[in-house]
């Protein structure tokens, strides 16, 4: 791996270690068992993660599960007690940070400066030009208010400015901690579209959220955290996809189970107390299942749409650990 090779002329100010051959599925971030302890509380407990190029990696977890602490550590704000991590195979340095755009917790800016000045400061730190600033402000809908002091902004506007700031310097990696926090539905949809557009450009995105819906819609891979421990890590597709999840029960449970197992377009998730959780493939509706079962002679006495698959998994996982 030739990470350090600098193919830009040395007079270019932006000589950073990342713009080498952009090989697909190169490891962007590798976390080796980091631990962070605050007094008696282990906020992050032996976390192991790997993020590859062009993935949209979601870090899912309830409040207090260590998402923000983990992100703070990989950004160099907090030192882990144990363990290590690497960006592009190298330890963290300011040069690498300049190629990462991030939002962490609440938006942080100088209250007495306006949007343009705040973004200029960030552009200076990242050693890029001011050219992108008007475009970014337009894209996040802040262009009209760009001359007003930051402290006059609503929460949604502050969040938008944070997102604009994260994108200054055209970073290769975006780290977003709850980016839709405080936005109205239109704003949430806009952010979702923006993230997907950015991902298409081949950038890697690490998204922390407790909104299962968002993660399922946007992310390609996900890691589930609870109390600092990673409960599950893998691709979103492997969890269940987007088909309908149903709860079915019948008087003759065994027959029901048999029929569902033998059906091509259903998948049995689990059975509990006679209620079967069944995953249908995308094209099929509950009515289809009903018709099919009647055909096979199974009389259904309960048919209900269960919650979405990721949510089920998520809550199940959390319940197991509690």
């Amino acid at each position: 791996m030739v990470y350090g090779k600098n193919i830009l002329p040395s007079s270019a100010k932006k000589s950073h270690p990342l713009k080498t051959e952009n090989m697909p599925s190169e490891t962007v971030l590798n976390i080796h068992g980091i631990v962070k302890q605050f007094g008696k509380i282990k906020a992050v407990n032996k976390l192991q993660l790997e993020v590859k190029t062009a993935q949209i990696f979601g870090i899912l977890g309830p409040n207090g599960s260590g998402k923000t602490t983990t992100l703070s550590m990989i950004l160099g704000l907090i030192q882990p007690n144990q363990g290590s991590f690497e960006w592009f195979g190298q330890p963290l340095s300011p040069a690498i940070l300049k190629r990462i755009g991030s939002i962490l917790e609440t938006p942080l800016f100088y209250p007495y400066l306006n949007a343009i000045d705040n973004l200029k400061i960030i552009a200076d730190i990242k050693e890029t030009t001011y050219d992108e600033i008007p475009e970014l402000l337009r894209m996040t809908g802040l262009f009209e208010r760009r001359h007003d002091a930051f402290r006059t902004y609503s929460l949604g506007m502050k969040q938008r400015l944070a997102i604009a700031a994260a994108m200054i310097g055209n970073p290769d990696v975006l780290i977003l901690d709850e980016p839709t926090n405080g936005l109205d539905p239109q704003g949430i949809a806009d952010i979702r579209a923006m993230i997907l557009t950015i991902a298409k450009q081949g950038k890697t995105i690490i998204l922390a959220s407790h909104l299962l819906d968002e993660v399922q819609k946007i992310c390609t891979h996900v890691a589930v955290l609870q109390k600092g421990v990673c409960l599950y890590s893998g691709s979103v597709e492997a969890i269940g996809g987007d088909g309908v999840l149903l709860e079915v029960s019948a008087e003759d449970t065994d027959l029901l189970e048999k029929e569902i197992q033998s059906c091509a377009w259903t998948r049995l998730h689990e059975q509990r107390n006679g209620i079967l959780k069944v995953q249908l493939e995308k094209a099929y509706t509950p009515a289809d299942l009903n018709a099919y079962l009647i055909e096979k002679g199974v009389r259904v006495n309960h048919l209900n749409t269960a919650k979405k698959s990721l949510e089920t998994h998520f809550l199940e996982l959390l319940k197991q650990q509690a």
Partner: protein, 247 residues
Amino acid sequence: MLSLYVLSLSGMLFGVESFVNKIAGDASRNSPIPIPDFSLYQFPYVWHNLSYLAGFLKVFPALILIVFVAAEYSYRTNRLQIMMGLSRGEYFVTQGLIILALVLISVLILAMWVLIQGFLHSTELSLISIADKSYFMAAYALEIMAFLSFALLIVTMLRRSGLSIVTFLVAYYVIEPIIRFYVPEVVAINLPFKRIGSMIDVPNSSLMQLFGLNFKTYIEYQDLIVVLLYTLLFLGISYWIIRKRNL
């Protein structure tokens, strides 16, 4: 607040002569011994005199520094800068630059007033008399710098505006005098504030000489070195804290 400092410093340096002369004038009317009308503003003594007096106002830039740096901590903008790729060393340098800016402003005001008053009131104007003893200005710069380094250390440790101001003032006006009282002479003259202040000692004047008091009219090398060491020590500790701290 900066303008307040500038105005008060300027005002003091300008007005103190008339103030002192008025007292002297009143006194001489009442006493049997004629007290000569002495001028503070003669070159070259003016350097020493005004540097000494300006040293009394060094609390102001210290407070300005504390407020400014504490604001960075309370708005968490230090976190923003480090997240965006500023190294911790570079961040420390920005704090150092604030100190330098304050020192520069203080020295410029001093220089301006010294020159103005000197030219207005001096009897003999030769290049030598103007330049002589101007090293007091450098000592003044060091005095302010050391003082501000200590202030930076306090605010870097405590991170809060009000608490830092109170702690700093208490350390300067209360704690160190108390320690000085209890501790043997050798240690007492080496404590930071005393050393910083004693670089530029009370200037000699004919009035003092009348009473047989004789203060230093020059700056000792030992003072310089000790104060420089203190400055480096304070700045070094601040740098170390910034590097190690969890934001």
